[in-house]
Structure formats: C-alpha cells, structure tokens
Amino acid sequence: MNKHVSPKMNRRAFVIGTAAVGTGLAIGLEIPFGGPAVVRAADGSPEIGAWVVVRPDDTVVIRIARSEMGQGSLTGLAQLVAEELECDWSKVTTEYPTPGQSVARKRVWGDFSTGGSRGIRSSQDYVRKGGATARVMLIEAAANEWKVPASECTVARGVITHKASGRTTTYGKVAEAAAKLTPPADVKLKDPKDWTIVGKGLLRLDTADKTTGAMTYGIDVKLPGMLNAAIKDCPVFGGKLKSYDEAKITGMKGVKKVVKVGDTAVAVVADTWWHAKTALEALPIVWDEGDNAKVSSESIAKWLAEGLDDGQPAYVGNKNGDAKAAIAGAAKKVEAVYSYPYQNHATMEPMNATAVYTADKCEVWCGTQNGEAAFAAVLEASGLPAEKCDVHKVMPGGGFGRRGQTDYVRQAVMIAKQMPGTPVKLLWSREEDMAHGRYHPITQCKMTGAFDANNNLVALHYRLSGQSILFSLRPEALQNGMDPAAFQGVAQSGEAAFGYSVPNLLVEHAMRNPHVPPGFWRGVNVNHNAIYMECFMDELAQAAGQDPLEFRRKLMGNHPKHLAVLNAVAEKIGWNTPAPQGVYRGIAQVMGYGSYVAGAAEISVTEGNKIKVHRIVASTDPGYVVNPAQVERQVAGSFVYGLSALFYGGCTVKDGKIEQTNFDTYNSMRINEMPKVETVMVPSGGFWGGVGEPTIGVAAPAVLNAYFAATGKRIRSVPLRDQNITFA
C-alpha cells in the first residue's frame, strides 16, 4: 500500500538534478578571468575577471554565486576573495550574478547550489583564484603605467606601491587599465599561515538591513501592478485536483482569478494575499486522493520494520570481515531497534516566489538555495528558452535544504503564465508549508553488536530500513539502485566516514520509499545515523561495563581526526571530573560533510521526564576556519535545529496526509530551552570541510546519552514529545 513516489516527481527531480550537476544548462564549467574585452557591471565599473568589480572610488564588489540564507557564507566567500585580492575589507561589498547571466556567460560563476555544507568548501579554490587573478592584473596595470616591472610593486589594502620610486596608486585608479589586460594563466594562492582576512571573525556584511526591516525577503517583493496568490495542493501526496466551485467565491473582495496549477493544485489570485487566502479557504475543493490516502504512520512503520529483517534484500554500504558469522559465534550480543520520523524544515519564512510572464520573457524573484535549479524550473514551467528567462535571488528567511527544491518556483510560474503581463506573488500559508514539505526521510535501524569473552567488540551489524532521498530527488545519482548518501556518517570512506574500527562490520540499507516526499533536511542522513550509532555505542559500552568515552577511544585508534574532536569535547566538559550535583553527561561524535564533529551535553532531569540542558560543548574540525565567529553561530544554531528536532520534530501521517499544521502542533525550541553552547574549533588543515550541517548530528545523541546516564532509560525514537518527555 505504500506507493513509491510518482514518476512525475522523478521527472521534475531530473530536470533540477541535471541543472545542479551542470549537464542540462551548462556549456561546460569554465572559470575565465576576464579578457581583453572589458565587461562592465550595471553601474559601468569594470570587471577584473568575473568575480571582482572595482569602482573608481576603490569600492570592491565581489560576486557571490552561492546563496546566503543566514549561514554566513556570503561573508566567508567574500573574505576568501578579498584575502587574495589584498583589497581594503572596509570597502568590500557583494552582489549576486543571476543564473541567466551565468548561463549566458558559459557558467562563468560555476555552481550556484548551496546545500550539503558546500557553499565555501566547494568554491574556495576558484574564488580565491578569482581574487588572486584580479590582484595580479591590477598590479600589472600600475606597473605598466609606471613602466616598472610588476615584481617590484607591492600591494596592501588596495594601495599599490613601487617602493624604489616612492609611487603609490589605488585599485580604483588602475581598474580601467587592468580590465583590458589578459589575465594570467595561473596564479599562486597564499599559504594559509599568511592569511589576514580569512580566519578572522569579521562581522557579516549583510546585517544592518536585517535589524531595520529594510531587508527584502521573497515575501516582501513588490512589483508594479502585482497581484497575490494563495495556493492549496492536494494534501495527499500523489493525489490530484478533481474540481472546485469557483462560483462560490466570485465577488469576494479583491478576488481576480481562480486558477488550476498543474494537475494537483488550485490558487486564488487577488489584490492582497489576505484576500486571496480568505477566498481560498472559502473555495469548495474536491480532491482525487488516490490510493495513498490509505497510508498512515502506522502502516509506514510496519513496512519499515519488515525491512529490518535479514531475509529482505538490502544494499551494503560498508563491510569488513563477516559480521553475521561473528555475531552467531559471539560470547555476548546486544541488539536494539531505533527509529527516526518525518520532519518539516519549517523555515521561518514560508515558501514563496514572484513571477511575471509574457511570451517574450519570464522572470522570477525568490529565495532559493540553488539559483540554477530555480532557473531550470522557470524554463520548464514557462516553456521559454534560457535567454528569455531569469531568476533574481532575494534573501531567503531560512533554507535548511528546503529551498534547494523548486516546487514553489514552478507553481508561481504556472500561475503567472495564466495571467500574462501581470506579476504574481505566490505565498504559501504556514499550513500549506507544513503540508507540502520535503521531509527528513523516515528510517528505522536495527543494530546488533557482539563481544568476545573479554568484552571486546568483535562485530557490528547496522541495518537501516527506510527512505532514500536520492531515489526521489536525484535518481541519476543512485549506484545500481543503492543510495550512497544513506550511509552518511557510517560510510567506509569519504566525507562522512565511520569513525570506528570493528573487525566484523556490516552496514546495510533496506530501501523503502513511502509516498511522503523526502528532502535534504539540514544534516540529512547524518542526523539519524548519528543518533543510531552513537546511542548504540553507549549501549555497547554499558554492556561491556565500560565508560562510554573509553569504550569509543579503543575503537578509534585508526581514526585520529574523529578521536581528536571527541577528546576535545571530553576535555572541555571535564569528562573525567565529577559533574555538578544532579547533572549528567553524554557524548557523541560523527563525521559529515568533510568535517569531524563531537558534542558533549550536561543535563538534569526532574520528575523523570523534564530535561534541562545546561551546557553543550561542541568541537569541530573543518580543516580550515574561514570565519570563526560565523562557525560559532552555525554550531550554536545547529543545536537549536537539532534539539528542536529531538524534542518536537515529528510529522505524522494520517489518511496519506501530514497531520501537523503549524507551530502549535510542530513546535520549535525557544530561548528558555537554549543551553549554553561552547564551541571548540580544532582546524587541522589540509582539507576543506563544511560547517552548517555536521554538528546537528551530535546534538540529539549527546543529550539522549546524558538522559540515559541520568535515568537509566534508553530512548530509541524521536521526537521526545511523543514519549511525554519535555524541556524542563
């Protein structure tokens, strides 16, 4: 009865996926750095390569292709460019090129997608080269003017000096000449030890407008003559719109039009959104819900539980030795089953996009984590070619992975297409946003550990059953049907590698895809894998009669970077010293997105079910830290996201629909529930890891392990809300 996701969704995903990997739109990834023909920014200032524009007043405009959504990478990326450019940081400003401009210039700004904690780590190399290239050209322009070798010139904060002759000039003065030069074929990047801008906790570049109400989010976009749309999509995923009775709302105040949106949704367009929403609520709608209406949380749980059974087929993600045989012959074994629910991203700003369509042009304004995917959606929904489309990125009120999808962009274009020439802003109500998420995938996990007679862990069998995100959103990324991302945090190697050595190991995934659409939810598969593995590690330590930290350490000899962050939190929280009276500790570690992270929690529990999280220590090794102040904020914020998920985050399914409708039924933690988070950064260099997501994985298991220490009770399913456990 649990239907696989519909082919329609796969086709949609395919278009987005191809855009994201650059085969659909791109003519090939090139990072050109200008050239003899001067390219000018909108204000007429010359580009010194695609990444840098220098204005006559010495202002430096740095182009940012990835999306800022609160995580701070706009500032971090600008720091990386400015570091190599050697410009004056106080004169730096940024701008977003549009995806249409990028495609028209052979994808000169590379990938726009901003997910997987990739914003900085996947573009750091070419944006730094962009800065270095511009620096070389600017110095060369000054040297040419002075008729001296460029090698005799130096630069600091955008001021070029020829020491021998005592001459100086500025970037703004030589920019025109520099723009006409041929860029150097190759540039050398600075040694990280010489960085002066990167590595500093500089203030973000985009804060002021967020404190005055002046920042324009998607919801705030205003265009002349714009109308507003409210939408309802079939609440049962995979269902269709059957009919609606428009006559019942014609004549309601402000209503301009009622439109069908694809096969599944209906929208009311009105002068104001409040009028559109009021009329939509009064509109009688009949849905064709289809077979998925029979699916419930119970039916999904039952289906997933069957997948935990060894007899069912499964994909193997990590293996050594013979775990099943070793378990069969072991002196002692421990077994546990854990589960993780659907969760909505619940970005603070609900989904929205503004579109205007004519036969000659289709433009969209929206918050998006992937400008190019949004662009591909505009092309597809409008039916117009790339040169007649564009997307203007505005600040999103949170992303967390949700705004990497483009369903709302497509809807906005489908509505605007039915009203040519009239700009329409589509805004989802919070209720629509809760009902049509791209949910954290649902899984269960059965783990079996086996010991020899000396309490050494000799085998571990880790069997996941549940949903694959790639199956639904990027089927082209599956490997012979297997979703490699399902093993994030427990993988054999790579950017989310398992941190323990177990002589006999079997990690496998019985894929089961219910009809509820999954998505990349900040932290993604690391979240549940870290809970399963790190809570079970504690169970194993207990079974072996050993301290949870010491037990882990013994298995981590071959994983020094995993161990280093674990040791860092243990030391900072004072693991080997007694906790304050009534306070209990828990610890966890994981690798994700190329970074090593660990967390330790101090909690107290009253009445057996009220948890106060007093203190969190979090350690991270992302290789390099571009902006420690922003890393600190991402780490602290990760605990808000991760602990909200642990305590409150559960979306349940009834009659094929999500039951939660708003923050009253899908809560998010508040300031009174916020522990003090102490961040320990231990960047070890030589690699670039992500920051925005990995820490979320350790938030829940650190607290759950502390809860066991406090109460002797294991919690094996999320959210705590459903087990009558709350914040104190």
């Binding site: 619940a346 603070m348 602290a636």
Partner: protein, 149 residues
C-alpha cells in the same frame, strides 16, 4: 476603511475591520519589515508595539488596533538614530537569516523598556519568539550587553 496610527502617522487604509493587523501593516500600509511566520500568534515574527506593548500583530484585528499607537520595526529608530537594540544587534552580529529578527528586536525593545536590566529568567519569560536559525545565544548576549552599558 480604517484609520491606523503607525509609526506616528495616521493612515486611512482600504481594509476590512476583521483583517489581521499584520496584513494591514504589510499589504495596505506597505511596511514589510513586520513578518508573517505562522498567523496564529505562535512564532512572534509579526511582533509590533501597540501602545508600547509587544504584541503579535497576526492575532489582532484592524478594528482592535484602531485608535492605538502602533510601532513597527521601521519606526523603532528615532530620526536617523537606531534604537539601542538595533545597534547591539549589529555590533553583536545577531541575525542569521534575519527573518525572525524584526519580531525579536521588537520583543526585546519592549522588555528593556519595562526592565532595563533583565535577568536570564526575565529574558526566558519575555522572549518567546521562534528563531529557526537558532540565534538565541547571540540574542541573550546582546541583551546583556545593552543592559550593562
């Protein structure tokens, strides 16, 4: 038609009396700094001051707000000078995405008006806004910075 006094100006707006104040502010008065997050008085993104009291504007009708003094985030600064909460938010780099921050700042400004030196417990009680980005640690630090200035 309704007369609303927003940020010191009385505006005559073509809006029905049962419209939530939030939408009258955003769509009829055109002040979009006040944000929509839930529409059911849960998240605090729409917080404004009504006669000086921090109020979730999605839960107040236009009729109820008529005749009262409404201040939105756009009216918090006086003249060209930012409010001390705005200044602290900039100095302490509080916002992440920033979407919740108009409401957060309005709630904090009202708290500090009432209690210039709030304790952690005062903060916990008065500030109940949701921030999905998780800026609470910076919010608390910034409040204490203002209070100790």
């Amino acid at each position: 038609m309704a007369n609303l006094t927003i940020n010191g100006k009385t505006l005559t707006l073509d809006v029905e009396p049962d419209t939530p104040l939030l939408w009258a502010i955003r769509e009829n008065a055109g002040l979009t700094g006040t944000k929509y997050g839930c529409g059911i008085a849960q998240c605090g993104a729409c917080t404004v001051h009504i006669d000086g009291v921090a109020t979730r504007s999605c839960g107040v009708s236009v009729a109820e707000a008529e005749g009262k003094k409404i201040t939105t985030i756009e009216g918090l600064a006086s003249g060209g000078t930012l409010h001390k909460v705005q200044e602290a938010w900039i100095a302490k780099d509080v916002p992440q995405c920033g979407y919740c921050q108009s409401g957060m700042i309005m709630a904090v400004a009202a708290l500090l008006n009432e209690k210039p030196k709030p304790t952690d417990a005062d903060i916990d009680e008065a500030i109940t806004n949701i921030c999905r980005c998780g800026t609470f640690q910076q919010v608390r630090e910034a409040i204490h910075t203002i209070a100790s200035a």
